[in-house]
Structures are given as C-alpha cells and as structure tokens.
Amino acid sequence: MGGVRMGKNPSTSLLNEWNQLHACKNVFVTDGACMTSTGTQNPTLTFMALTARAANHAMDEWKKLNL
C-alpha cells in the first residue's frame, strides 16, 4: 500500500483529504496507493469506502464547477 499517500500538506503528501492529487485536482487515487499507513485490517473495505466518498465529493465539486 501507499506511494501516493494522503496528507494535509502538499509538500509531504500527494493526495488531499478527498483523494485528489494536490497538484492536479481532477485526478483521484482511491485504491491502496492512497494509504498513509496500513493498519492491520484487511484494507479493501476501506478502499471501497474511500472510493465511494471521493466519487460523491467529485460530483459535488462538479456541480460547483470546481473540476
């Protein structure tokens, strides 16, 4: 997991809290690459929940024409 981790700060992470690339907001990464840490749990449920969350955020932003 990881490699395109989420974080608050664009200088130490690649994705924001909605899984958007800090530097290219209309690209979203919501699979295991976004994971800042790995936990011990089997992670797929978390990937799926993050995906649904990010997709709905993208559609909200779309309505506001931010994408």
Binding site: G3, R5, L45, M59
Partner: protein, 499 residues
C-alpha cells in the same frame, strides 16, 4: 483532417474515466453511473462475465482432468506456477504480460481481468478505527492522515449495505461495528480459545471475521441478482450465486444496468494526459492490448484504481513539462513509503479434547483476533501491532491399509482425527522512504511501458513484531491447553502484496 480529429475526440470523450475494474474501480463506476454520468472503465485484462466466465464454479472433483493439479507444461511461463490449481488457473498471470525488476526480493500478486483481485480475495472486511487513523501522528511516522473515523463512517455504512457483510456486533473500540447480516459461528475449539483469552487477558478477543458474504440477502442484493451463501467454500473459482461481493457480481453489472457504463477490456493505461494550459488532466493514453495501438480517451475527471503498484506506475509514467517526475509529483515522494502487511508469523497446535464434537459444513470466513498490541498506548519495543487470523477444525482420515474388501471398508469408513488449530499474523508495517517502487530507465514491457522496479525490505520493527507474535501465540495456545504447539517465521520476502 481536423474534423476527423474532432470527431474522434468526441467519440472518445466521457464524463469520467476509471482506470481498473477491481474492488475499488467497480465502486467508482457504480457511484458515477448511479448519478447519470457517462463512465468509461478501462481494464487491461480480459472480460469476465459473472457466472458465464467461471468455468470451474460448478465442477465436481472428478470432473477435473488432473484432480486439481496443473501439468508442468501448463505451468510454463508462470512464476506463480507452484501455487497453480486446475480450479483457478484461469486467473493466473503469464510472466510475459508484465515483467518486473525485483531489486530486492518481493512478491507481488496481480489479478489482470475484469474484476481484478475482487475475484481472488478472501473477503475479510474489518473496519478501521481511530486507533489506526491516529497511528502515524501518535507514533511519529509517515504523515498524519487527513481524515478520521467519523469522515469515513457513513461511507463504510454505504458500502456495507450494498456489498452485504456477515458478522456480529462485537462492540470493540479497536474494531468498530459493521452493518452486519448474521455471522458465521465459531466452532467449539475457536470458542474455547475465545473463552480462554477473555478470562486470561480481558483485552484479546476472538471474533468471527467479518466477511463480504450474504447470509440474509436483502432487497438491494436481490436487485443485484445475488443470493445467499451456501458455505461451499469454492469462492476462488467465482461464485454462481453471487453470494460474495466482487465487482463482477455486484458493482459492475449494477453500473451497466444504468446504461451509463462503457467497460473497455484489453485497455492497458499507459499514462494520464496533462494539459498545462488548462492546468488539469484531460484524459488518458491507452495501449490496446490486442492491436497495440495507442488510443487517447478524454474525460473531466479521472479515477486511478489500477491497484497500489500499478497506480503508482501510471502516475510515474505520466510525464509532462509541468510534471517531469510524474503526475502530481512535485516533491519526488511518488512511489515512496510503500508498506504492506507482515504475514511472516504462523502458529499451529492440536487439541486432545472435544472428541464428542465435530464440524458440519464449511465456514467461508475464519476466526479473527483484532490487534491487541499498542492499541491504547505504546507497550512494546516495536511500533504498532498485528491482528491474527485463526482457523480450527477437525480433519477426517481413512486407514490406507489392507487389500480387497478390507481396503475398501477402510477407505469408506473415514474416521475423525484430532482437533487442530492454526493462526497467522497480519502485521502493520511502518512506511519508510527507502521502501519504494520506481520505473526502470531502459527496460520496458511488451507494450513499451517502463518496467517497475521494486526496492522494499523488512525493517527491524517487523522482525521484532514477528518475534512477539510467536511468543504471544505460544503463550495463548498454552493457556488454552493446546498441544504440539509450533510457531514459525517464514522469513518470506516482503509483499505477498495482495493489496
């Protein structure tokens, strides 16, 4: 010419592009199609239609030509060959599809077909808690997660309702409750371990692992065409009842029904196209796996769901004058801080009791001990901890002696053996900058895409954690009165990277 190009661009333009049709990509497709957006899912592998393309799902054991084993000839060209089975060989990936460079030993599991690894997974679905999201900040590694449990909780609910999760309300702070259908019961040996640990420790819980199986399907599942799990445990062949969640049984057919989905198999994504003037991505370049043509597709929003390593590789390969090190990679961090789960530790034992009891039917889940180390405070000389998968059972055997009638009688009258139990660790590894993947400077695959270089290794923290797992399992099994306890460290290469 110009008009032709405009037409082509128009033809290849969608609202959203999703790269990868696996567990996460399927969800992106479903959410966008539900809201009426034209969605293109690009999948590098072949099509796998639910039921139709599960060639072995309803085969009886005697219908396999080699009783499940795969001939040496058929294993040629598959480095995963030693694990190949006749039941599942249609999911195996030939080495020449995507050669990679292991600078340090690593094991990378891929599922390249529609549905991705959602057709291969063990379907365990435990939620995260804030003890996980707060880990990096509390223990001072990586960076702080920008979200907490409350941000994701409604989305766990959303996914669980649709996918269907079997389990119990365990009421544990370290493993928040899921929205569950009835769980699979633990057997008597697993229950015995549960009672022992509860009494002896008071903070180690043996529960039934939550899993994406329908035990009490609801209207939303019937609408997906899915039915109840019969506990046959042949899930890895593909399930004709759609009783476990996969993209193929659930999200993809659901998205297709909206009429908004275009699913394009044999589409190897090469890179994402960045437009410096618009300051955003405008599409992706695909190599058609059959014709080998490079074809661009366009959309306003791009979701990258090609699975961890491939998603890193696609971004690294998306170079432009604005992003010479790969898309979004101003910091040079892309591909770094790769981490995985540590499965090195195992423990086994037998139990000389419960002779009057046996199991009936299969359990497609397993028992599970959520992390108990360093949860509420730091208490060991290593960071983080491990969960434990546990499976107990009682095997049957037949005496192989005698000839003629005696042999036949022996073979027909199988006897119950001892109870056995095994446990496997699932440890958190701490991401470090050194553990990374990158693209090779010159080596390419057959599509002309740079090969991926793996440079990942265990750390001191992982070694200490395996040691602790072995000591703790020894102690827990002793307290439970188990015999012939054996613990092991497989010292396997990192990865087994299935996520």
């Amino acid at each position: 010419m110009a008009n032709l190009n405009i037409d082509l661009v128009k033809k290849n333009t969608y609202d959203v592009i999703v790269i990868g049709s696996g567990a996460s990509g399927g969800w992106a497709a479903k959410e966008f199609c539900d809201k009426g957006l034209q969605t293109l899912v690009l999948e590098r592998g072949r099509q796998v239609r639910h039921v139709e393309d599960y060639p072995t799902a309803s085969k009886a054991p005697w219908e396999f030509e080699h009783r499940g084993t795969v001939s040496l000839a058929d294993k040629k060209g598959f480095s995963s060959g030693s694990f190949m089975r006749e039941e599942t060989k249609h999911w195996a990936l030939p080495d020449d599809e995507q050669p990679v460079v292991y600078e340090k030993p690593f094991r990378w599991t891929r599922g390249y077909h529609v549905g991705g690894k959602s057709l291969l997974w063990a379907r365990q679905t435990q939620r995260w808690s804030d003890y996980d999201f707060e880990g990096p900040a509390r223990d001072g590694f990586a960076v702080d997660w920008p979200i907490r449990y409350k941000d994701i909780e409604p989305w766990y609910d959303h996914v669980e309702k649709f996918a269907g999760i079997a389990g119990f309300n365990d009421n544990l702070a370290e493993l928040p409750n899921s929205l569950v259908q009835p769980g699979f019961e633990l057997n008597c040996l697993e229950q015995h371990l549960r009672e022992t640990l509860k009494k002896e420790y008071g903070n180690r819980w043996v529960i039934s692992g939550r899993c994406a199986h329908l035990t009490d399907p609801q209207e939303i599942h019937f609408q997906q065409g899915r039915g109840r799990c019969l506990s046959q445990r042949q899930c890895e062949r593909g399930c004709n009842y759609g009783a476990y969640f996969s993209s193929n049984s659930s999200t993809l057919p659901w998205a297709a029904k909206t009429g908004k989905l275009t699913l394009r198999p044999h589409s190897v994504v090469h890179s994402i196209i960045y437009d410096a003037k618009k300051k955003k991505a405008i599409g992706v370049n695909v190599i058609d796996a059959i014709s080998r043509d490079m074809i661009p597709f366009y959309a306003k929003v791009i979701f990258v769901n090609a699975s961890t390593i491939n998603t890193n590789a696609i971004l690294l390969n998306s170079k432009s004058s604005r992003f010479p090190q790969g898309l979004g990679n101003d910091t040079g961090l892309l591909g770094k801080y790769i981490a995985w789960h540590n499965y090195r530790g195992t423990a086994n034992a037998s139990f000389d009791g419960f002779k009057d009891k046996k199991t009936a039917g299969g359990n497609p889940s397993n028992a599970y001990i959520p992390r108990f180390r360093n949860v509420f405070r730091q208490e060991t000389d290593f960071l983080r901890g491990y969960a434990v998968g546990v499976g107990g059972g009682r095997g049957q055997f037949a005496q192989q002696g005698g000839i003629g009638d005696t042999l036949r009688e022996n073979l027909l009258n199988r006897q119950w053996g001892n109870w056995n139990i095994s446990a496997w660790m699932m440890g958190e590894t701490v991401p470090t900058e050194q553990n990374h993947i990158r693209l090779h400077e010159s080596l390419q695959d057959k599509y002309g895409i740079p090969q991926i270089v793996f440079s990942c290794d265990w750390t001191e923290n992982d070694v200490k954690m395996v040691k602790d797992f072995r000591e703790q399992m020894q102690e827990m099994f002793e307290k439970a009165g188990f015999q012939q306890i054996r613990t092991a460290d497989s010292k396997s290469a990192p990865g087994a990277d299935i996520h």
